[in-house]
Amino acid sequence: MRLPRPAPSVRSALLAPGVALGLLCGAPTWAQDLVAADRPVQAQAPADPHSEPSNRETVISGQAATEDAPEGRASSTVTRADLERRLPRSAPDALRWEPGVFVQQTAHAQGSAFVRGLTGQQTLALFDGVRLNTSTWRQGPNQYFFTLDSRTLDSVEVLRGGASTPYGSDALGGVMLAHPLEPPRQPTPFRPTFFLRGATSDSERGGRVQVQGATERLGFIGGVGGRRIGLLESGGPVRNLTDGQLPEVPRFDEDDRTQLGTGFDEVTADGRLVWRASATDSLTAAAYLYRQFNAPRTDQCAPPFSRFDECLQYDAQFRTLAYAAWSRAEPDGLTARATLSWQQQHEQRTFNRPAFAVVDRGTDTVDTLGATVRVTPKPYTVASRPLRLTFGADGAQDFVRSKARTTFTALEVELVRSRGQYLQGSRYFTGGAFVDAEWSVHPDVTARAGTRLGLASARAPEDVESGTLAVNNTWVPWVGHAGVEWRAAQVLTLLAHVDRSFRAPNLDDLTSRQQTGPGFQFENAALSPERATTLDLGSRVHTRHVTLEGWGFATRLDGAISRRPRNVTDCPPSTPQCNASWSRFQLVNAPERSMLYGLEGSTRVRLPAAFIAQAGIAWTWGEGPNLADRPSNPDVPYSPRVPLSRVPPLNGTVELLWAHPSGLSASTGLRWAREQTRLAVADRSDARIPLGGTPGYAVLEARAAWRLGTRFVVAAVLENVTDAAYRSHGSSVNGPGRGLVVSLEATPF
């Protein structure tokens, strides 16, 4: 948690209308971002969003309105301005330009961010401080961050490295903190804004109607949106590194560019009401609905080596999040926030096999009741230096419903399975209490430390018919962190930090049975928490024209929960598909340590003529024990230590940004990655990864935007200018081919 902050009443007063102004007023948002992003606020923004365009550096739409990530750590932020400039397809897509983040897509309607080589359940996603991770998030990439509507986001902070002390379980590789758009903080007439968006490569057509306004005490922002997205056209096939052949995934249409098993429909709705009860207290009531329909899982539509017409599709992928929050910010520095939340994650899958006239259906629903409280009292004084403490407690209780059935359509017969992917009636709790401290030991030295006592509990009933054992486990992990920040020179800051984080096994690890990318995976009810110890060393250089940041890290995973190849004889009862699968896996705690090492760098350089250049680069290297038994044949290669699964290759970004006070702005960006040939055992049987590894790529895009007066903004991105055929490592979907993404925003009244 970021501790000492300027009194929010002042800064927020500038930021909030700044956001509104950036959206609604004549001040060119992108120009303001480019020019002012690194500068202090020089003047207060005009309260009236209808005021005439101004060239004054008043609006900080390039900065996030909310920053929660702990200080003194490796982090970066995607701002609203970034989102408007890059026009990402989704929340995960918005993270592609962040240093140290690599986005994998198992489907066009899915996206999973790798942070420092870890993803899915080994990273934590928060929305306005509410935990999104549930106990059914599976090992490896998952689709759930995609179920945030990027059009409702003000910013996304990415904290790289472990952070279980403030955030609890799962925060091993990093934390993604999504912050929603806030309503205006000052009286503003209620008015609608219309957003239209389209893209050529996947025939996207969509829009959103948003209404926002505020009275003296009450502010509201809300909207309804939807889009229909078709098959995604790529730049062409990405071939196996070993033999140059086409991988099994994805399947292409006859043009060898259009990817089958892509496309989806999406409907969203949200409302956020903020009541400023007093000068120090505010209450927020908010609800966010995400509804995704008919989203095929690309690597299973059709599955490798299967008929063209077999398809696993998410008929419904829903998230409903509703919460109430109370916040207090006193002038003396005390801040407090408490939330009560309910979240429902619901998915309904259909695996359709027309040739057999068979449809398998699975429905999983997780209801989560959550509560958090955090209090930062006014600073204490210790040895004449300020000490800030933050106390917090949180808890999230999951209630799981899971069903599976098979329909033989020609026979009009339905078989109800004894269990779904999970066990009906399972329960899971995760939470804990923590204390964090920040002590300014010296004007140039700040020390930080904290600790958490966690609690995780898993309960799942036995299912005799499927031979599934009951689960009744409780863990009480104790973790902590410590770090120091030394301002070594006017422009140079050095940082060091060590963190111990944990992830308790969740219901997916403990109870799920599923066909995964590399084979059939079955449960292990005897898992124990995995722990990550991360050492970060970083430096920041900050001058008037240059910002430079570099980090090196080493993460040691103890008891890492990883896939161990299993024999046919290990398959649980009543799982013929386990016996018949090419590969079988069970999650186990690795008996030896796994290691991740990495280097991350980012820079931002202010150039003449209102140009700004920025770049990022990340390298990650992971290795762990080989969990497969040594082959009896000595000719078969075997190594006792092997690469960790799906660790991204060396990758980076370069962007050149320009803006003109007239409202015209332009930018170009290049994303690149080297080939990744370091494959885990499971990766080699994962159809998402071409044989031998994933080839490298470089993808160029060009962007332009024009803000016309106070009411219209047109933005466009020419993506993949060179029409490169490329794929992010571990993805089922190749990236879009050359195409245009266009966005129109209008506030006509």
Partner: protein
């Protein structure tokens, strides 16, 4: 009384002839011929004394030949006359086990399956990674590949090469239709027989397909072995191997020899990588093909001889079996003896059991497949 005497004699004979590797008395019979409506089917006795293995055949049972200076096969992992899996986890074993389970529920012993049993077995057949998943993509490697590099699992391709894409183009429609009709209670024994026949052909073409794919995927040699044997030792056959062994023990032994030949080839040919010795690969495949084809043909032969045995329902079931399995032999028979192929084709196409010239059909098969 005569029947009892014959039964006792048969039991006595079996009890003296069996060794540890032979099927246990509790093992259900596979090869047909013991239907409740046809308790005394014509008995086929294999006589291959006139047959000699080809000089290029792999002969692991014959220590003299195997170790002779003229042995066409260098020393290899199969010389101990047992199969050594490349990978102990052979997914095909589960598919053969599923076949045996389906057999027990649908057709063994002339059973009249219920609609519910069709549903249960269809569920087994269509399990992810189950038999159906392989039927739908099975290719018959005797035929040229689909034009323009088409893959049999791709849309429209089976229609362009139905013989090559035998799984999706021919077997899959038969099996799906039979399960559907059976699930609706329509002529259950007939539908069960169609399923049995189609799956037996699947288990004939599959080992040969796996031999070819084993060149790049070594584990597929294990599947080539397991699709025939069910992943068992010589004397404990499952699936197709059990059918063959019960009818023609030496043919089974020769098929097992050939499965070991496949493993021997892969052992000699860069076992952990991509194979290069296509000559040895084809030699093993051809040895395997010859034995498997004869074994499968003998199953057809047996059903022909049982055709009019027993009641009407059983006869219809056997007719359906012959109508389903018989046409698949046309390619192989025609390659060897076109006139016999014409005869066989005509007889197995008849739909009325009384019209079938069993002797002519059997003679055609005997003439074309005299030796394993």
């Amino acid at each position: 009384m005569k029947r009892i005497f014959l039964s006792l004699a048969a039991v006595a004979l079996l009890s003296t002839a069996c060794d540890d590797n032979d099927p246990k008395p509790t093992d259900p019979p596979d090869a047909g011929g013991t239907d409740v409506d046809c308790p005394n089917p014509p008995h086929y006795t294999e006589n291959v004394t006139a047959c000699q293995p080809a000089a290029t055949d792999y002969q692991p049972r014959n220590a003299t030949a195997n170790n002779s200076t003229t042995d066409a096969w260098p020393a290899c992992i199969s010389d101990e006359n047992t199969y050594s899996p490349i990978d102990p986890n052979i997914s095909t074993v589960a598919r053969v086990a599923a076949f045996d389970e389906i057999a027990t529920k649908l057709w063994k012993g002339g059973k009249v399956p219920t609609a519910q049993e069709f549903v249960e077995t269809y569920d087994l057949y269509t399990q992810p990674e189950g038999i159906g998943s392989r039927v739908q993509r099975r290719e018959d490697v005797h035929y040229p590949a689909a034009p323009n590099g088409g893959r049999c699992r791709d849309e429209g391709v089976p229609a362009t090469a139905p013989d090559r894409c035998v799984g999706p183009a021919k077997l899959l429609p038969i099996i799906t239709d039979a399960f559907t009709r059976g699930g609706k209670g329509e002529a259950p024994r007939v539908q069960a027989a169609r399923i049995e026949a189609a799956l037996l052909w699947f288990f004939y073409v599959s080992p040969l397909s796996e031999v070819m794919s084993c060149g790049s995927a070594p584990k597929d040699c294990d599947s080539a072995w397991a699709y025939y044997t069910g992943g068992t030792a010589r004397g404990e056959p499952k699936g197709l191997a059990r059918y063959v062994r019960e009818l023609a023990p030496e043919t089974h032994e020769r098929a097992y020899d050939a499965a070991l030949a496949v493993r021997c080839w892969r052992n000699l040919d860069n076992e952990s990588g991509t194979a290069a010795n296509t000559e040895l690969q084809l030699r093993a495949r051809n040895q395997y093909d010859k034995a498997l084809l004869r074994g499968t043909a003998l199953i057809l032969r047996q059903r022909l001889t049982e055709l009019t045995c027993g009641n009407e329902e059983g006869s219809q079931a056997r007719m359906a079996f012959i109508n389903t399995l018989g046409p698949f032999f046309d390619r192989a028979v025609r390659e060897i003896n076109p006139p016999k192929a014409d005869v066989l084709k005509a007889e197995v196409a008849k739909t009325n059991a009384e019209d079938v010239d069993v002797d002519a059909a059997v003679a055609a098969l005997d003439a074309v497949f005299p030796c394993p």
